[in-house]
């Protein structure tokens, strides 16, 4: 697989442990006390979105569901709130993955923004429907920052899959 369709670099296959590691790190980032600051993105949603765009055969809706359950308990939210939003996110990103990957990185970020926004909106609607207080517009700033982070995130998470640019002339193929 290539980083984007216009790129001539071929990536190494992804290692499953790296996917798990990145998801665990995302969970840890979400648990940090910075989560209360305005505009801090939902790291789990972002990394989950990344992997289900890249590797939707490995990271699917089952993973989304389990991560959502963990986030629900960690947040003290109603069980099923994150689960539902993450499952929808995993499904939509997996369905749109070919289209998203076709674009250069900056435009990928634009494609991802509505999906991440959708996860926040779904969660807000679920809670507002059962009588919670509107959390303020700051709640929807997170996805904007997250989509700005799409480019550096792609670089970091694809690092283990890059191979050297210069080709060995003695290579058989």
């Amino acid at each position: 697989m290539q980083p984007t369709f216009s790129s001539s670099r071929i990536l190494l296959p992804v290692r499953p442990w790296f996917i798990y590691l990145s998801l665990i790190v995302a969970l840890l980032l979400n648990f940090l006390p910075t989560a209360h600051w305005p505009g801090i993105p939902d790291w789990v949603a972002l990394v989950l979105c990344f992997w289900s765009v890249r590797e939707f055969r490995r990271v699917g809706m089952g993973w989304a569901f389990v991560l959502g359950l963990l986030m629900d308990v960690a947040d003290g939210a109603v069980l099923g709130q994150h689960c539902f939003a993450y499952v929808i996110l995993a499904f939509t990103t997996a369905s749109l993955s070919r289209r998203v990957l076709w674009f250069p990185l900056l435009q990928q970020a634009l494609q991802v923004l509505p999906l991440l926004l959708l996860t926040q909106v779904i969660q807000a609607l679920m809670r507002l429907a059962v009588g919670a207080e509107f959390p303020g517009w700051g709640y929807f700033v997170g996805p904007l920052i997250a989509s700005l982070l799409w480019v550096p995130l792609t670089f970091i998470l694809l690092l283990p899959q890059y191979q050297p640019v210069e080709q060995n002339p003695d290579r058989p193929i």
């Binding site: 969970l27 006390p33 369905s95």
Partner: protein, 312 residues
């Protein structure tokens, strides 16, 4: 559906179809959402997941608490000495009242016995440290460091040195979740100190509390202090809850809108006292026939419900 359509032909085994998976997982999520919200039937699931998540979350909170610790450490001798002096001064200034309190309580007990009135309950509890605020932006909750292991049960009230902070709503093995009184629709039965009138104060979700169902001409003034009335079997009587800050009297509505602010440091970090559950109240007397309760309560019931629906 582009991603799935461009997949290799279906004779390779790839598990259930994406749409089937989507339906399954969304239905499952919605089911646990409803069950958790309406029937509270998933506490065991939540507790077992929390057993895994809670230690990780505490570890993730350590950088913040280390910074706090360092700041406290570097705060210096002077401010500590100043605090110490202030505390000593405060101790001295409250001494006249405190010294007589024991004697007064003893006297009160004796008098109550003479009058054959039930004794007032004494407050007991345990101090718990607030670990962090729950991340959920839709509610106001904090997590404290004592749980089932310390004998905490759901429903216990939590206070700080100024007044009522909230109520324990969920208990995990090593931690407990306290819903603050400013959480939306969190109710505390209160009494106005000045007039002795009973009411119920509700959280609004924006840091303020609202005294609902008070008639437009009720005797409430800005600055009135609300204390717990003790009529529920949760809060002991007499803890300060809130102070009235704003009253809107609109004759178009049958009720005044009375806003108040919590007295306790509800949004502060630090320590809270989790009070032990109250002793069960004596059984209610048999319902009186056609007196008092009929005249005042029943006509009020309908507008109350309407108002509650509109207020939300």
């Amino acid at each position: 559906m582009a991603g799935f359509d461009h997949a290799p032909p279906p004779f390779f085994k790839r598990g259930p179809a994406p749409l089937a998976l989507l339906t399954f997982y969304t239905l499952l999520s919605l089911a646990i959402f409803v069950v958790d919200l309406r029937f509270r039937g998933l506490d065991l699931l939540r507790q077992s997941v929390a057993l895994v998540v809670d230690p990780v979350q505490r570890v993730a909170q350590t950088p913040g608490s280390l910074v706090d610790y360092a700041r406290n450490y570097l705060q210096g001798m002077q401010s500590l000495q100043r605090d110490n002096d202030e505390l000593r001064h405060a101790k001295l200034s409250t001494a006249p009242n405190l010294l007589r309190l024991e004697q007064l309580e003893a006297e009160n007990d004796r008098l109550r016995k003479l009058l054959v009135v039930n004794e007032r309950e004494k407050a007991k509890g345990q101090v718990a440290q607030i670990l962090y605020t729950a991340r959920d932006p839709f509610s106001r909750k904090v997590i404290v460091d004592k749980g089932q292991q310390s004998g905490i049960v759901a429903g216990q009230p939590a206070i700080d040195e100024a007044g009522v902070v909230g109520q324990v709503t969920r208990v995990f093995p090593f931690s407990a979740e306290i819903t603050l009184i400013s959480d939306k629709d969190q109710a505390v039965p209160v009494q106005i100190v000045r007039t002795g009138q009973r009411s119920v104060v509700f959280g609004l979700g924006n840091g303020q509390l609202e005294l609902r169902y008070m008639p437009a001409n009720a005797d409430v003034q800005v600055g009135d202090v609300l204390v717990t009335s003790g009529l529920d079997s949760v809060y002991l009587q007499g803890y300060p809850v809130a102070k009235v800050v704003n009253i809107e009297r609109d004759s178009a509505y049958s009720f005044a809108r009375i806003f108040s602010e919590p007295i306790a440091g509800v949004e502060n970090f630090g320590e809270v006292m989790v009070l032990d559950p109250r002793q069960p109240l004596p059984p209610a007397p048999p319902a009186a026939k056609g007196r008092g309760s009929d005249g005042s309560d029943k006509p009020g019931l309908r507008p109350k419900k309407k108002r509650a629906a509109r207020g939300n």
